[in-house]
C-alpha cells in the first residue's frame, strides 16, 4: 500500500537550512556556535529545532568557546557540531588542532566569506588552503568535504559525521554563500531517531571500567613521533577508502576542468556551452578536498593533456592539481577572488583559450 | 518663555517620529505623502502659534542629527 504523503518528497530548501537539517538527520543533538554572516541560518534554525527533539543549542560567547564546547561534548561521546565563517574559523584553529591531536570527531561547517580580514560576506573559495592544510599548528589534517548542491549540503554533512566518527578526526564541510543562501529542491524524508554511537573511549565516568583519558600532550620519549605517524596512517587509510570525486562528461573528454563546490556549478554551465560548440570538455569535481582525489587526477591526465583549474580565489587548488598531474599534462588556471563570480561565458572563453 | 525655532534637514530625516513625540508643544509632524530621497516620510517643523521654546528636546533625541535649534538672544548674553 502506498501512501504518497508518507513518501519523501522534494521540497525547496535553503542550503544552510539543509545543512542544519542534515545534522539533525545524522543524529547531531548538540550545537555550539556564534553568529556570523553568511551562516546564521544554521544556528537560527537549530535554536528553534533542537529543543523540539531533545537536543541542546548553546550560543557560545565566541567561536573559541564554540569549538571548545564541541571538544568537550565530543569527548563526552556526543555527535556535535559548530558552524562559522572565515574570522570565526580562524579563531577555531587551536581547537581544531586539539581535536585532531586528541583524536576527537567533530563537524565544523565553514560557510566562506571573502577575506582576508573582515573582508565581506560575498561567496568565495578563498579558504581552500586554510582548510586543506589542517589550519592549526602541528602535523595533522582535517577531513574536508565540499558540496555543490543543496541536496549535497544535506547529505554530505551527514557523511562528515560518519567520517569524523570513523576516523576520530574533525571533519569540515566547506561551502559558501551561493550554496548557503540558494534554494533547490531536496529530498529530505522524516528525521530518524539518533543511532547510538559506540564510543568506548568517551568520557562518561569510570564506574565499572578503568578511567578514560582524552589528551593531546605526549611527553614521553618518542611518544609524539609515534602519534604523528599514527595520524599519517589514518590519513592514508582515509585516502584509500574515502576519497570522493564526481566526473562529468569525462567519457570522451579532451580537456579537463577541475573545480569544486559552487564554482563547479558555473563550470557545468560553461561545459554545456562548450559542448554545444563541439569542445569535448569534462569535469572532475573533487568532493573530498582532503583527501584530495590525487589518483584520479593522475590517471585522467595520463591521457588528457590539458587541465584548467577554475576557482573562486586566486588559485589555491592549483598546487594540489599540479602536483598530482601526469608529467605530460599542462595545468592552467582561471579564478575570480573577492566575491567575483566566474560566469559560464567567462569560463567558456578560457576553455577556448587553452583548449 | 524663550522663543525659538528649529530647522529640519528633511533630506536626512528617516521619519522615525521621535522628535514628533518629544516636542511638548506639538510643533513637529510627519510630512504627509512626502517621500525623501532616502525613501522616508520626513518630519516637518510646524509652529503656527510660535510656541517653540528652543528647548532642544527634539534635536537631542534625533538619531540622525537632522535638527538645528535656534533661540532668541538673551538680553545681555554674549552672542557667540
Amino acid at each position: 500500500m502506498s501512501d504518497t504523503t508518507q513518501q519523501p518528497q522534494r521540497q525547496m530548501m535553503k542550503g544552510n537550512v539543509a545543512i542544519a537539517e542534515g545534522a539533525l538527520h545524522a543524529g547531531c543533538r548538540y550545537y555550539f556556535g556564534y553568529p556570523i554572516t553568511p551562516q546564521n541560518d544554521i544556528p537560527e534554525y537549530l535554536s528553534a529545532e533542537l529543543p523540539k527533539c531533545g537536543g541542546t543549542f548553546v550560543q557560545a560567547e565566541s567561536e573559541i568557546a564554540s569549538i571548545n564546547m564541541v571538544l568537550g561534548a565530543s569527548a563526552a561521546g556526543a555527535r556535535c557540531m559548530t558552524s562559522s565563517s572565515g574570522p570565526g574559523i580562524s579563531l577555531m584553529q587551536e581547537g581544531i588542532s586539539y581535536l585532531a591531536g586528541s583524536e576527537l570527531p567533530a563537524v565544523i561547517v565553514y560557510v566562506s566569506r571573502i577575506g582576508p580580514g573582515l573582508g565581506g560576506i560575498a561567496p568565495t573559495q578563498g579558504d581552500y588552503k586554510q582548510v586543506t592544510s589542517g589550519g592549526g599548528h602541528g602535523d595533522y589534517y582535517s577531513i574536508v568535504l565540499a558540496p555543490s548542491s543543496v541536496q549535497e549540503m544535506f547529505s554530505l554533512v551527514q557523511t562528515c559525521f560518519d567520517l569524523a566518527d570513523k576516523y576520530r578526526n574533525p571533519a569540515i564541510l566547506l561551502t559558501d554563500a551561493i550554496l548557503g543562501q540558494m534554494k533547490e529542491p531536496v529530498i529530505v524524508g522524516p528525521r530518524p531517531e539518533p543511532k547510538a554511537q559506540d564510543k568506548p573511549w568517551a568520557l562518561t565516568g569510570n564506574q565499572g571500567r578503568s578511567k578514560n583519558l582524552i589528551k593531546s600532550l605526549f611527553l614521553g620519549d618518542g611518544e609524539m613521533e609515534v602519534q604523528n605517524w599514527k595520524l599519517v596512517e589514518k590519513y592514508n587509510r582515509l585516502k584509500a577508502e574515502d576519497t570522493m570525486a564526481e566526473e562529468l562528461w569525462m567519457d570522451d573528454a579532451e580537456f579537463i576542468i577541475v573545480a569544486f563546490g559552487s564554482c563547479s556549478r558555473m563550470v557545468e554551465s560553461s561545459i554545456r556551452l562548450a559542448r554545444a560548440q563541439g569542445l569535448k570538455v569534462g569535469l572532475i569535481r573533487p568532493i573530498t578536498l582532503f583527501p584530495f582525489p590525487e589518483k584520479l587526477i593522475y590517471e585522467r591526465t595520463a591521457s588528457i593533456a590539458k587541465v584548467l583549474v577554475v576557482e573562486m580565489n586566486t588559485g589555491q587548488m592549483v598546487k594540489d592539481v599540479k602536483v598530482n598531474t601526469h608529467k605530460n599534462a599542462d595545468v592552467f588556471f582561471y579564478g575570480r577572488p573577492g566575491g567575483g563570480m566566474p560566469t559560464p561565458e567567462d569560463i567558456l572563453e578560457k576553455i577556448k583559450e587553452f583548449y | 518663555m524663550a522663543r525659538g525655532c528649529i530647522e529640519i534637514r528633511m533630506e536626512k530625516c528617516k521619519g522615525c517620529g521621535l522628535c514628533v513625540a518629544v516636542c511638548k508643544k506639538g510643533n513637529i509632524v510627519i510630512a504627509e505623502g512626502q517621500i525623501n530621497a532616502l525613501g522616508y516620510a520626513p518630519a516637518e517643523f510646524k509652529d503656527p502659534n510660535g510656541e517653540c521654546t528652543g528647548c532642544k528636546m527634539c534635536a537631542e533625541i534625533c538619531p540622525d542629527c537632522c535638527i538645528t535649534v535656534y533661540r532668541e538672544h538673551k538680553a545681555g548674553a554674549a552672542s557667540e
Binding site: 556564534y34 550560543q59 565566541s62 573582515l118 | 521619519g15 522615525c16 538619531p63 552672542s79
Partner: protein, 257 residues
Amino acid sequence: MAKPAEKMDAVFQRPETLIDTNFHFCPGCNHGNVHKLVAETLDEYGVAGKTIGVAGVGCCVFLYNYLNIDVLEAPHGRACAEATGVKRVHKDKIVFTYQGDGDLAAIGMAETVHAANRGENFTVIFVNNSLYGMTGGQMAPTTLLGQKTTTSPYGRSHEGDGYPIRMAEMLATLEGPSFVARVACDTPAHIVKARQAIRKAFKMQIDNMGFSFVEILSACPTNWRLDALTSQKKLQEEMVPYFPLGIFKERSTADYL
C-alpha cells in the same frame, strides 16, 4: 515661524567632527545619537585632530564614515586590545573604542576586562542594544530574560542561556578603571546625562586617569521588530530597570592602590 529670525542663534547644531553624510543606521537607531555625542565631545575638548577611534565590528563598524578622525577597524571583540596597542604608542593622543554588546560583552569579554584591569588610558563607548544588530538580531549576553531573538526563539531563559550581563557593574569591581557609568538614549533628559558621562569619560583620559567606560542603553528597532517610538518605550520600561543607570565608579586622582 519656519525660518530662524535674525536675532536668533543656533543653540544646537551638527558637531563639526560629524561628517555631513547620512548614517546607514535604521530609522530610530540610537547609534546615531551616540555618534553625535562622541563628535560633540571631541569638538568640545578640541581634540578631534589628535584622536584615534577604534571601531568594533557591528553596526558601528562604519564609524569612519561619520567621524572626521583617524579610525582603526578592529577584529570583532578585540577593540580594547587594538586600543591598547595604539595608546601605548601614542600616549599623548586620545584613543577610544566604540563597541556593541555582542562585540564587547561576548567575544570581547577578556580583552575588555583586562584592558580595564590594566587601567589603560583610553575610553570605551559601549552601545548596549541587547542583541547582535548587524548580523540579524541574535541573542547577546545582554539580551533580557524572556526576550525573543533569532537564536532565542522561545525567549532567553536563565537556564541554558544565562543571565543578561551587567558590564558596568562588573567592571566597576576592578581596581583598574577610573570611570564607569551607564546611561540611556530613551529620553532627551537621559541623552543629556549621556553627554555628561561621555564628556567625563574623555576628560578622565585627557587627565591621564586611566580607563573610562560608558555603557549606553540603545534601541535596535529593526531587530526588536518595533517602530522607533515603541522601541524607546521598551528601552525605558524593560532595559533600564534591569540595567540601572548611574555612575558605578569614579576615581579622584589620589586613590590609586
